[in-house]
């Protein structure tokens, strides 16, 4: 492997021939670092390393959010230990899917925000809460999309409102934002939401859901995602925030349980093995 990061991820010259720069519409044939400014400036056109679904739901005491730790490079399982849930302030969790480098950029921005809060907030009782974090992220993402230079992510923000009720909202690379008692990004939107909405049919029904029920449905969702989302992984992290932020539980390295493809051999009627 060529260890120059500029050449990471490029098909090797030995096998495929030299890279054709006309593909990127760049005039320079072989570029070195100091020639980079001769390339046209390009905004993100597609994500590179990606994280898949983040899922979350409200329950009677708070919210639960989960995301696996896979960082894919296209269809390559490139990194398998990437944390995609972040704690912001005392009682807020932010889960990020999509481009991992943009996720890390957002993480830095959120850390900065937290530091600012600590430096200037010398008055007790004034907390940076989930609605504020969400509004801030919405502004960042919408402003970037308006510059045609998006941060390629879909983000869930979970925590509590100023009045102590659970808060859960989504925002994505376009700046589109919405709230619901059950949320998921990416594939989760197709595979996990039906399971979550089975438990919480109406937005207000979360008040009847116990922590045990909520955690079970999260495990079920992660299992289904692992079965059918090729970019998912069987190791995930889960954050539980309850009682208006007094309990913040960050569980890592959770394995998807009760998962096996053994049943597949009994499936008949597909492919070449006809009865």
């Amino acid at each position: 492997m060529n260890h120059d990061p500029f050449l990471w991820g490029r098909p090797s010259n030995d096998t495929y021939g030299a890279y054709n720069h006309a593909i990127a519409q760049a005039s320079v044939q072989e570029a070195t670092h100091d020639q980079l400014d001769q390339f046209p400036k390009k905004h993100t056109q597609q994500p590179i390393i990606t994280g898949t679904s983040v899922i979350a739901l409200k329950y009677k005491d708070g919210i639960i959010m989960a995301a696996d730790t896979m960082g894919s490079y296209g269809s390559l399982m490139r990194f398998n230990n990437i944390e995609r849930l972040f704690r912001v302030g005392k009682e807020t969790v932010v889960g990020i899917s999509g481009d991992i480098s943009d996720m890390q950029q957002l993480h830095r921005i959120l850390n900065e925000l937290e530091t600012d809060e600590e430096v200037y907030d010398n008055d007790g009782g004034h907390n940076l809460r989930a609605p504020h974090v969400h509004e801030y992220l919405t502004r960042i993402l919408y402003n970037r999309r308006s510059k045609m230079d998006p941060l390629w992510n879909a983000v869930l923000v979970g925590g509590f409102n100023d009045d102590g009720s659970p808060f859960l909202k989504y925002v994505d690379l376009l700046g589109v934002a919405y709230g619901s008692s059950t949320l998921a990004t990416g594939f989760g939107n197709h595979l996990a939401i039906p399971l979550l909405r089975q438990l919480i049919p109406n937005d207000t029904d979360y008040v009847n859901v116990t922590e045990e029920q909520a955690k079970k449905v999260v495990m079920d969702c992660m299992r289904v995602l692992f079965y059918r989302d090729a970019r998912s992984f069987d190791k995930f992290s889960m954050v539980t925030i309850k009682d208006g932020g007094k309990g913040f539980d960050f569980e890592k390295n959770i394995k998807i349980d009760n998962q096996s493809w053994r049943f597949a051999r009994d499936i008949k009627g597909y492919g070449s093995k006809q009865e």
């Binding site: 021939g17 999309r145 709230g179």
Partner: protein, 242 residues
């Protein structure tokens, strides 16, 4: 070694690269409707937000009380809609600071929104905008816009996904289009009159339950904001969730 082996890359060597551009817009569905009465005006919208075939949320309100007894909605691309309304709210606040707390008339609000929209003529807010309130004489007023700021005052207007389903119904039921006096053999048009608030609310509910039946992006809930001289009040009615 300069040989190029056959691969998915080989095609790119000889052909023009496919342009894959970031699309800064999405269609978040939903539909809205405004009707002006003699001394009231209503703005109504469903509460479903979608993208593609997915329902994002079953309750994401999009009609807002923006102050000074004006209600506003911007339906289409949700992020642009929210941004437009936020900007209007802010400007209204400055207007109050600059003019000693004076109330902004709906006529002035309407003109100002034109400028907000036209200001982004070459990167438009992808929304159909409606505002409703009472004019200087206390009569109900609805103003409607295209995405780049063309606007007019109307008696009623539907916007968004099911606009084409609801608008003809409104033409018939609010402006009595194609309605004739019985027994005149289609010679005498039915005379225009202001509808009462209960009549209007019934029309709104019928319009939305029908749109819910026929349009996949409409449903879940109906939120109606009603402006009268007493102020603004909100009604919510469930719609079908399928």
């Amino acid at each position: 070694m300069n040989a190029t082996v056959a691969s998915e890359y080989s095609a790119e060597v000889h052909s023009v690269p496919i342009e894959h551009r970031f699309n800064p817009y999405s269609d978040n569905g939903g539909t809205v409707l405004g009707i002006a009465g003699e001394d009231f005006a209503v703005l109504a919208g469903d509460t479903r937000q979608v993208v593609g075939y997915s329902i994002n949320s079953r309750y994401e309100p999009k009609i807002f009380d923006v102050g000074d007894d004006i209600v506003m909605t911007a339906n289409g691309f949700a992020a642009d809609g929210a941004a437009l309304i936020d900007r209007f709210r802010n400007q209204l606040k400055w207007y109050k600071f600059d003019h000693g707390g004076k109330k902004l008339s709906i006529k002035s609000a309407a003109r100002y929104i034109q400028h907000l929209l036209y200001g982004k003529r070459f990167f438009p807010y992808y929304v159909s905008t409606l505002i409703a309130g009472l004019d200087d004489e206390g009569k109900g007023a609805v103003y409607s816009y295209d995405p780049v700021g063309s606007y007019e005052r109307e008696q009623c207007r539907a916007g968004g996904a099911a606009a084409s389903l609801i608008m003809p119904f409104l033409d018939n039921q609010v402006n009595f289009k194609n309605q004739y006096e019985p027994g005149t053999d289609g010679k005498k048009k039915k005379e225009l009159r202001y509808l009462t608030l209960p009549e209007v609310l019934d029309l709104v509910k019928d319009a939305f339950s029908s749109a819910t039946e026929r349009h996949i992006q409409v449903g879940d809930g109906l939120e109606i904001l009603i402006v009268t001289k007493e102020g603004i009040r909100t009604e919510y009615h469930p719609l079908k969730r399928d």
